[in-house]
Amino acid sequence: MILPRAIRKFKDKRAVKDSRWASLFDQYEGDEVVSLDCETTSLDVSEASLLSIGAVKIKGKRVKTSDRLDIKLKPPADLTAESIKIHKIRAADLVDGVSIEEALEQVLEFVGNRPILGYYVNYDIRMLDKFLRPAFGFGLPNKAIELSHVYHDIIKWRHVGGDVDLRFDTIADKLNMPMIQRHTALGDAISVALMYVRLKHGDTPL
């Protein structure tokens, strides 16, 4: 049975009440957001493995690239030629990678209870949850901010009745934001963070 995320979060909170992760479930009071991106072997959560995770904090108008997470995981068994083409990550690039448990712990430490920002962020959260739940007994409780929704909310007034093109490259292009290290988890996280800051604080794009 698939429970709504809110209910699951409620159950999870009770489950971790006394563990070191309890604070993750507190209401976030600060002004920071974490932009997060995962590179995976497939776009289907059920069969995908994690290759790398990148995340960067945003504070106000500042993308804190100095405060970031850049994790490479141990190569999964299913690293295929297809995903190599997309991510340009080969098994050889991952030999120094960390285990999934270690990676998840770093992510939780880094993100805390801050909102998580991403492009198709639910995919990333579900991806992390898939490994988090069996190992830690809960899923990410954080508020999710979807870049394309933020974009859509701002842009839609100009496109009454029409569809808004929400492709990543289109948004980046419309916002005239530079793409940084495309197709690395950290690079995409930074690019998304920049677009977010731009949308939040800049003029409405044309």
Partner: protein
């Protein structure tokens, strides 16, 4: 982390690999809307901002009622700002995003850490323009020519000497020469040292039927031409040419250091144009001289293209031009007249600051009451010959073919005084040209009498100096155009930078009665006289050198493109031709000019 940050730009390229990694790891990215203040005057800067995208203006903080926004500078395209403010506690200007701007930012702590660990980076960040250009020069390539021009004998081409003792046979000596691949051998005979060359041996054995078993000491030459190890290589070449020899022995006091060979020295001369100096020395007819003189332009190009520091180039050319003019004077002016007249060069030539052959600005001073009927015709011929050498005539006709510029000592001093009391801009200009005069040929005493008299009368004449200095601050020094490099922006560097420095320094020097005419030397003398801070003097020197260098590179390029080979706009700097580094230095240099003009204004009470 962002690889969008360009480490290859100065000063970051000065950092080691690990320092660069450290910096990269500590970069943030900031986003600023158009109109947003990034650093506010009076507040602390968070660190150093490097523009990734967009444009930032540095401006004076606005008063309540001050409507005019005075923008000092624009930053864009990897320019950095905020470092000064970060290190000095608070900013004195506003830094405002003029358009949507993204900056890489690193904090003051990171800056201080890098400054601590890397002296070169620290210099670049903390220092003045002089130190900055030094660093740039060191990073730059193509210093070979400077090394050649300034190479001393010891660091260049000294060969270890092959020395044999008296009693060694010619045959043995020849074998040793062959083994050591020397073409000469030094022979020690008692306390003296003699030299035997391959040619000497040939002459002794073949022409004079000598025996190969004879003592080599008997055919050696003991009057050796020597030089010191710290002599310039150029001097060794001059000696060889003058003495018509191919080897010079290098002696440090009484100790033999080695031998310098002509072939080794010549291998330093990649182009024959560098031998001009020698050809000048040897020229004995006007034709010889003309040939040598026309090679000068190539020499200039060679020097500049190899990145020789502009001041050395200027010095070298000033010396060469002076030699040409003096030599021509010797050839044209009758020997019996030479002690009674003095030829002076003025303006940039007098200052020794011309690079391309500039207009002739020259004059003749003669002894009071001198009876020389052919003066005019002779000097007419002198000017025409110089023109035929490629020295363009002076458009203001300030040259010896014009009788106005041929004066007795009395008339000359009278003219100087008249000009100094006139408020006619023409007269002011004549005076400015004349006070840079330098004697090049004839009787120098005549020139000195006039100059010393003039300097004495000018003493403490505040009104004159105030009036004279005014021209230096007349033109605005532009600093605000650096943002729009896509447009075809131009800058008249003579008005904006060179003239204010030259004239301002000239005024100071006159006031202090400094005899040097070269602006760089005047600046040094002003420091010695205690009227200028050494750091200011260095900055001003460096700024002037930079202006001249940039101008010259553009002049050469335009002259090559022009059909007639003449640059139509010699004082224009096309900004889009400059690379980032040059732009940054140019901007710093213009700032130096600006503050120099400020000090002129307050020193000579020039409030406009």
């Amino acid at each position: 982390m962002p690889d969008s940050f360009k480490m290859e730009n100065l000063p970051f390229s000065l950092l080691t690999e690990s320092e660069q990694a450290f910096l990269r790891a500590n970069l943030d990215i900031g986003y600023y809307q158009s109109g947003e203040v990034i650093i506010k005057a009076g507040e602390q800067s968070e660190g150093v901002y490097v523009v990734f995208r967009g444009r930032v203006a540095e401006s004076e903080p606005l008063d309540e009622d001050d409507e005019m926004l005075h923008v000092f500078m624009h930053y864009e395209n990897e320019d950095y700002f905020g470092g000064w403010s970060a290190m000095h506690g608070s900013a004195i200007h506003n830094f405002t995003a003029e358009e949507e701007t993204i900056c890489h930012i690193f904090s003051t702590e990171i800056l201080l850490e890098l400054i601590d660990s890397n002296p070169g980076f620290a210099d670049y960040f903390q220092q003045n323009l002089a130190a900055k250009s030094e660093i740039v020069a060191q990073q730059g390539e193509g210093q070979d020519m400077a090394e050649f021009m300034l190479a001393t004998i010891e660091e260049a081409v000294v060969r270890d000497p092959l020395i044999v003792n008296e009693g060694t046979s010619i045959k043995e000596s020849t074998q040793l020469m062959r083994e050591t691949k020397s073409d000469s051998v030094l022979v020690r005979r008692g306390g003296r040292i003699g030299m035997v060359t391959g040619t000497d041996i040939l002459n002794a054995v073949v022409l004079n039927d000598g025996s190969v078993d004879e003592d080599v000491a008997t055919i050696a030459t003991y009057r050796l031409i020597t030089c010191k190890p710290d002599d310039f290589l150029f001097n060794a070449l001059v000696i060889m040419t003058q003495q018509q020899i191919e080897r010079v022995v290098v002696m440090e006091g009484d100790t033999l250091v080695g031998v310098v060979q002509l072939t080794d020295v010549l291998s330093y001369f990649s182009s024959h144009s560098h031998v001009i100096g020698l050809r000048l020395e040897r020229a004995s007819t006007i034709e010889d001289l003309r040939e040598a003189a026309t090679g000068l332009n190539n020499l200039i190009k060679a020097l500049i293209s190899t990145g020789v520091r502009i001041r050395f180039t200027m010095d070298l050319l000033a010396a060469m031009n002076k030699r040409i003019i003096a030599k021509l004077f010797d050839l044209v002016v009758p020997v019996d007249m030479q002690p009674h007249v003095c030829l002076i060069v003025m303006g940039s030539e007098g200052r020794g600051e011309q690079i391309m052959k500039t207009d002739q600005d020259n004059a003749l001073i003669f002894r009071n009451g001198l009876n020389w009927a052919e003066k005019r015709q002779t000097m007419q011929r002198f000017s025409e010959t110089l023109i035929s050498f490629g020295f363009p005539p002076c458009p203001g006709n300030i040259m010896v073919s014009n009788p106005e510029w041929i004066n007795s000592v009395d008339d000359w001093t009278q003219k100087l005084q008249d000009w100094s009391m006139s408020s006619d801009p023409e007269d002011q200009m004549r005076l400015a040209i004349a006070v840079d005069a330098k004697p090049v040929a004839g009787n120098v005493a005549l020139f000195k009498v006039a100059r010393n008299w003039f300097l004495r009368t000018m003493r403490n004449n505040d009104l004159f100096f105030s009036h004279f200095a005014k021209a230096a601050v007349e033109f605005d020094t532009p600093l605000t155009f650096f943002g729009n490099l896509k447009e075809r922006d131009e800058l008249d560097i003579k008005k904006g930078g060179i003239f204010p420095i030259v004239h301002g320094v000239r005024t100071f020097a006159l006031e202090q009665r400094i005899l040097a005419t070269n602006t760089f030397e005047r600046l040094e003398a002003l420091v010695d006289a205690g009227v200028m801070q050494e750091s200011d003097s260095k900055d001003i020197s460096e700024a002037l050198g930079l202006f001249v260098n940039i101008r010259l590179r553009q002049q050469i390029r335009r002259a090559e493109q022009a059909e007639d080979g003449i640059d139509p706009t010699p004082n224009i700097i096309e900004l889009q031709q400059l690379n980032k580094m040059d732009r940054e230095l140019l901007r710093d240099a213009l700032l130096v000019v600006k503050s120099f003009k400020k000090s002129l204004t307050s020193r000579f009470h020039l409030s406009s």
